[in-house]
Symmetry: C2
């Protein structure tokens, strides 16, 4: 690997001059520029980014931190982040926090010297962790999908509770009253907000909240399958299932199908996310779209902006959008009674 000194020797100029032609800064005579260019060419020279970063205190890199590479939105999120970063000629460093808040905190602090800004999509960190990060970090941080109590952070969030209410309305409008609920993790604000959505929707119609109709999943198909299977085995009555993401809804669908229960004729199912696979199951899953790609784009672009200019705190809020497909229909008992 050749360095700037190799170029200097070959082109017979000083480091400063080479640096000038690399960066297109300052005045350089055309003939010199060419001399340097051809020297770089023949050496296959590429400036060392680490050295550049150290010297300029600019890394042209943005860090993306997720709690876990397993996360359901991870694919779309990463793809969009990569696209937005590349568009602005920024490099992307992606790290996960192994679902361990303290580890995740350390990871982010470590990133400080390696990035100009960080985008955080954390399921694991507590509000307190995020608070501390915000105070300690000298680089801007944009938080996705977390409703922080104060408007102190740059954030791109999603109206969790309203989204669940949207799903519930759709079910309730179709006459469903016994609605089994498969939640996600209950340690973080998202799960709590969503469960509130479920409870409040029920309350609004005067339907009693029934503990037995709620089971906790972990956002993957297996846990959705498992939860639904348990509902069935326990002989619990329900006419619809609401799951806190599409994967679990799809797992539930599988459990119902296995048990010989017709969807949506006997039981309706609704999910949230609008996962690309949802369209390919039979029946096609009705869901609420969580615009993770748009949110990511917004977040990354904001982060990139913040690399160069300090801005007042921005926060963007996104809303869910119902996508009606085939897995919900009016409840039978209502029709037949």
């Amino acid at each position: 690997m050749s360095t700037i000194l190799d170029v200097c020797k070959l082109a017979n100029v000083s480091k400063a001059t080479v640096s000038r032609v690399i960066n297109g800064t300052g005045q350089v005579k055309e003939s010199t520029r060419e001399k340097v260019f051809s020297a770089m060419q023949s050496l296959g020279y590429r400036p060392n980014r680490l050295a550049q970063a150290l010297a300029t205190n600019k890394t042209h890199t943005i860090g993306l931190v997720v709690s876990d590479f397993d996360g359901i939105h991870f694919g779309l999120l990463l793809k969009q982040a990569a696209a937005s970063a590349e568009f602005s000629k920024k490099q992307l460093i992606v790290t996960d926090g192994h679902n361990d808040p303290d580890y995740e905190y350390e990871v982010i602090m470590q990133l400080e010297a390696q990035c100009d800004a960080v985008v955080l999509y954390s399921r694991t960190l507590t509000d307190d962790h995020i608070q501390r990060l915000h105070q300690q970090l000298t680089i801007p941080i944009v938080v996705i999908n977390r409703d922080l109590p104060e408007q102190l952070f740059h954030s791109v969030s999603f109206q969790q509770e309203d989204a669940i209410k949207l799903m519930m309305s759709h079910l309730l409008d179709n006459g469903h009253r016994q609605i089994a609920c498969i939640t996600g993790h209950m340690m973080n604000p998202t799960g709590i907000a969503r469960l509130n959505g479920y409870k409040h929707s029920l309350a609004q119609l005067g339907v009693n909240f029934d503990e037995k109709l709620v089971k906790h999943g972990v956002y993957d198909m297996k846990s959705g399958y498992q939860a639904c299977k348990e509902f069935i085995q326990e002989g619990i009555q329900f006419t619809a299932v609401i799951a806190f993401n599409d994967c679990m809804a799809l797992g539930a669908l599988r459990a119902l199908t296995e048990a010989g229960i017709q969807v949506p004729e006997q039981v309706s199912i609704i999910g949230i996310d609008n996962d690309p696979v949802s369209e390919f199951f039979t029946p096609r899953l009705t869901t609420v779209k969580l615009p993770i790609a748009d949110m990511t784009k917004q977040a990354v672009e904001l982060a990139i902006t913040l690399c160069d200019e300090t801005k007042a705190t921005h926060s963007y809020q996104y809303k869910g959008q119902l996508i009606e497909r085939e897995s919900v229909m009016p409840v039978r008992s209502v029709l037949s009674s």
Copy 2:
């Protein structure tokens, strides 16, 4: 962000001494060590990785390059790579090549100063590109899932042709002779090897190869769906579908279901990958497992080893493994005839 100099001042020692306590190298008096530690503590000091990397020419980072973040194996691959890297306390830089070979080549060359080794999972680069990379790079490179003509590279590959033969045998053993084939991209070795597997299996039983039974997909559900729909609309006769990955197989399943064709009673389907979602469709998809996680683990661990010691070229080969589920059954006409 405090630097080593801040620590020096606070602890009243030189840079060298601080460096020694950071790295645990050389001799440091216990009392001094404590002084320095507490200085670091109270400053919240973290060594600048960029500076360390520049000084030591060791980044403790391995680069993972994929052609496209969309890629079907990407999720599992990344998760496993992250796990293996973290286990060895290495950082991971992940980049994609936007499906553009020249861009991808540049990306990898750029990584040279930022990583100690790179793991490449490329669908896009030509053998020639890889050859050149190998010559130019001063850091080791491990190639996943590519059968390079020569054994010049460190590689972890998969027996593509044999895997397809395994799928075909399963179908042929079940009496299928009219087997529709949904391929992937045909520009790269994987696609070509797999199509050869299809052709050779047919030839071995003296079944004529029929162009009309082959359509090209792009490894996503939509293209599998589309291809299968076309087979149906064109009135082509087939008793089984083989797809070059599970996603496309699942797309095909959807197309058949929509058309009112029973799977597997009327048409059997087989995929390859053992995608986690395959188990949740109805019928559960029969497939050949492509052990991408194992392969990735192998590749990353090899890369990590190569950071510290030069080793002779290693290459590992993995084989497919049939996972029988519910989407294949003996062909009807055979039974009834």
